[in-house]
């Protein structure tokens, strides 16, 4: 894991002091509300429906036990005793007092954490695969590249006032994409060319929100050293030519659509030629320096699938089910990747209490080299667990309510805060998630259904990624009343697709029944172990539409 040096720490300390000063000037009336807004946003502070919300960055989802304990202490001392993990791998506090935010930031800085660029019209936290560094199928570990991007994007002097927020995601697994790179402003795939050299395939102009678009390839291969100059070139073009007259048309996806990807490519290429061999070209020394922070730990030589594990699975069906669902193969023999579920029935997806956070920190230290990852699916990962200790870990995770064995299943849904917290919502989303969790709580049924992404957003901003849910639920407002629109067939993975709207929207209390009809249709239609998405793609939209609305004459 990247550890700050004196420069990183100094920069962060200076940032806290700066924000303390800005807050003081604001409270003195020297900065009007409208001009304080971007300053607080640049420090992750929104003002929401009931209270401010503080979004803390977890760069590419990686953090450690000490940092988790600090988050727990903040939840306890400044909030209502819980926090919320978001789809962008960040963590949010829903109830801090505005005046206390500088103190919270200071506490975060003491453990190398911050809220820099978690909001506002700047380059946001770069995200990546939660299994980075431990999955066998990746080309290289993407995290050093994310860290290089983090440093370059932090307080970039030219790009602090972009037309709109800007999100970059990185993926390094051929054929699999856990970072949803195709729905980011810039998606980076780490690849090798025919000569075996490392580099990047760059996508541009993807995004969700009210105009969902799958990103287009702007460069099939960019050499490893050229990462930052090329990003500079893309964002410089966007900064100059992106629309600023209408915030709904200000994302780079709209620029790319207006220009066409070929023209965009020409502009970027021309800009890049001017700067590509300048001092921002990465050096081998810097690549090596950053990579040296993410070396393979000293794994022990262990037996794969040890007898003790097999025995525990044979004796304890609940454990076996959890292993099957929530544990993933590790590149190192005898180790496993464990997903801790933040999808307990009765809890908003992604919510954790301070007690759970402390417990997770303990588990990380005891079982997983002290490190934790947050995921795009609003769960947590312990990435380096010895297989022989899985049973012990499971028992402890279970007693802390972190072992719901439903990873990737229907009730492992993504859900935005919706009308319960968010000032922009058209409808609540947490109660929909809850109603579905209550209705579909039969584990055998859920396991039989297999992998289904259910994504719920409370408005068309799409924070809950409903467009890329196999089943997407979108809150809509009709004459002041809350309704929900369903889309089917979305997918955020490597073969990304946007969901297609099923038909007229439904009242909230109809939602579990509607979902049940969709699932019944899938079960009736599926052949030979097809996933929901495969069945939908094969059987077609109309079949599902008729199952829900009845046959049209």
């Amino acid at each position: 894991m990247y550890v700050y040096d004196q420069y990183d720490q100094q920069l962060l300390n200076e940032r806290v002091a700066q924000f303390r000063g800005q807050m003081a000037r604001y409270l003195d009336g020297k900065i009007p509300e409208e001009e304080f807004l971007p300053l607080r946003l640049q420090n992750g502070i929104y003002v929401q429906r009931y209270a401010p919300m503080l979004r803390v960055a977890i760069p590419y989802g990686l953090f450690n036990a000490k940092q988790m304990r600090t988050l727990a202490s903040i939840a306890r001392d400044y909030d209502k005793g819980y926090a919320h993990f978001s789809t962008r791998q960040n963590v949010q506090f829903n109830w801090p007092a505005l005046e206390q935010c500088p103190d919270i930031l200071e506490r975060l800085a003491s453990v190398q954490m911050h809220a820099v660029q978690t909001s506002g019209n700047c380059i946001r936290n770069t995200t990546t695969d939660e299994f980075a560094g431990v999955t066998a199928d990746e080309l290289v570990d993407p995290r050093p590249y994310c860290e290089i991007i983090r440093q370059w994007s932090t307080f970039h002097p030219e790009f602090a006032y972009l037309p709109r927020k800007f999100k970059i995601a990185v993926n390094a697994v051929p054929g699999v994409d856990r970072a949803a790179v195709k729905v980011h402003d810039i998606g980076i795939n780490i690849v090798r060319n025919e000569q075996g050299e490392l580099g990047y395939r760059i996508l541009v102009g993807g995004g969700l929100g009210r105009t969902p678009i799958i990103g287009s390839e702007i460069r099939s291969f960019l050499p490893e050293e050229d990462l930052l100059t090329y990003l500079d070139a893309i964002i410089r073009i966007y900064n100059q030519f992106g629309r600023r007259d209408n915030k709904y048309k200000a994302r780079i996806k709209i620029l790319v659509k207006a220009l066409g990807v070929e023209r965009m490519q020409e502009l970027v290429e021309a800009e890049w030629q001017r700067i590509k061999d300048g001092e921002d070209k990465l050096t081998q020394a810097e690549l090596d320096r950053v990579k040296s922070h993410f070396t393979t730990p000293n794994y022990q030589t262990l037996e794969s699938n040890p007898a003790s594990l097999q025995q525990a699975q044979a004796q304890d069906a609940a454990f076996a089910r959890w292993v099957q669902r929530n544990v993933r193969p590790h590149k190192q023999a005898g180790y496993a990747i464990v997903n801790l579920s933040l999808k307990q029935k009765g809890n908003a997806p992604g919510d954790v209490t301070a007690e759970q956070m402390d417990a997770i920190a303990d588990l990380a230290e005891e079982f997983s080299l002290g490190e934790i990852r947050s995921t795009h699916q609003q769960n947590l990962v312990l990435a380096d667990v010895e297989q022989q200790r899985l049973y012990e870990l499971w028992q402890q995770a279970k007693s802390n309510g972190l072992a719901t064995p439903t990873l990737g299943l229907l009730t492992d849904m993504i859900c935005c805060p919706g009308g319960d917290f968010c000032a922009l919502a058209n409808a609540k989303s947490i109660p929909v998630a809850e109603a579905i969790q209550v209705r579909f709580d039969d584990l055998d049924y859920l396991h039989d259904l297999g992998e289904i992404d259910l994504n719920i957003s409370g408005c068309m901003n799409a924070c809950g990624h409903h467009h890329v849910g196999n089943i997407g639920v979108l809150g809509v407002d009709k004459k002041g009343e809350e309704f929900y629109q369903i889309s089917l067939g979305g997918n955020g993975g490597d073969d990304a697709s946007l969901g297609k709207i099923l038909g007229p929207s439904f009242a909230r209390d109809a939602m579990p029944d509607v979902i049940a009809k969709i699932l019944d249709c899938y079960v009736a239609q599926r052949i030979d172990g097809e996933t929901f998405l495969e069945t939908y793609r094969r059987a077609g939209h109309t079949v599902f539409k008729e199952a829900v609305y009845g046959k049209a004459d």
Binding site: R15, E35, H156, P157, R236, N239, R289
Partner: protein
């Protein structure tokens, strides 16, 4: 009146003034970029004496002035709203792609909390919006003592400076 500062001090007696499309162009006039492009032949002599400047609207790009930047003694870039960040790219391109060496002024909605970024993009004159506190403004230039990226004042990113 906007207060004109450079990073050390408040400036007074600035001889420069704006000359929009109607006004006569005299010494130390700053003319709209468009006027320069249209009346280049007439304005050239004044420029060659170091007594002409141009002003960019935020939707005008550095490429529109291009190599002519070298003829200017002052360039002013407008920030119609502090949140309109196009001028940062314009400044950087003038300095780094077109070798502009003269004075570079930020005008318009220029606020304390933008100064540091502006400085790093090559601005050295700031027509601060008139309600801004001068002392807070001058202090803002030293908020940060380290930066990760290259900038106009130091073309080396931190990774080439790190020891």
């Amino acid at each position: 009146m906007a207060k004109l500062i450079d990073r050390q001090q408040l400036l007074s007696n600035d001889p420069w003034h704006f000359a929009d499309d109607e006004q006569a162009v005299t010494e130390y006039a700053i003319v709209p970029l468009k006027r320069w492009l249209e009346q280049r032949d007439d304005l050239l002599a004044l420029a060659q004496q170091g007594k002409l400047g141009v002003h960019f609207n935020s939707d005008e790009t550095a490429d529109q002035l291009g190599e002519d930047a070298a003829l200017m003694a002052r360039i002013s870039i407008d920030f119609p709203k502090f949140s309109d960040g196009r001028g940062y790219s314009t400044a950087r391109l003038l300095r780094q792609s077109f070798g502009y060496q003269g004075e570079l002024q930020a005008s318009g909605d220029v606020l304390i909390d933008q100064l540091f970024y502006m400085l790093r993009c090559g601005f050295d004159r700031f027509a601060l919006r008139d309600d801004q506190d001068i002392d807070d403004a001058l202090a803002a230039f030293s908020t940060f003592s380290v930066s990760y990226q290259s900038d106009v004042n130091d073309p080396r990113p931190l990774f080439r400076r790190r020891s």
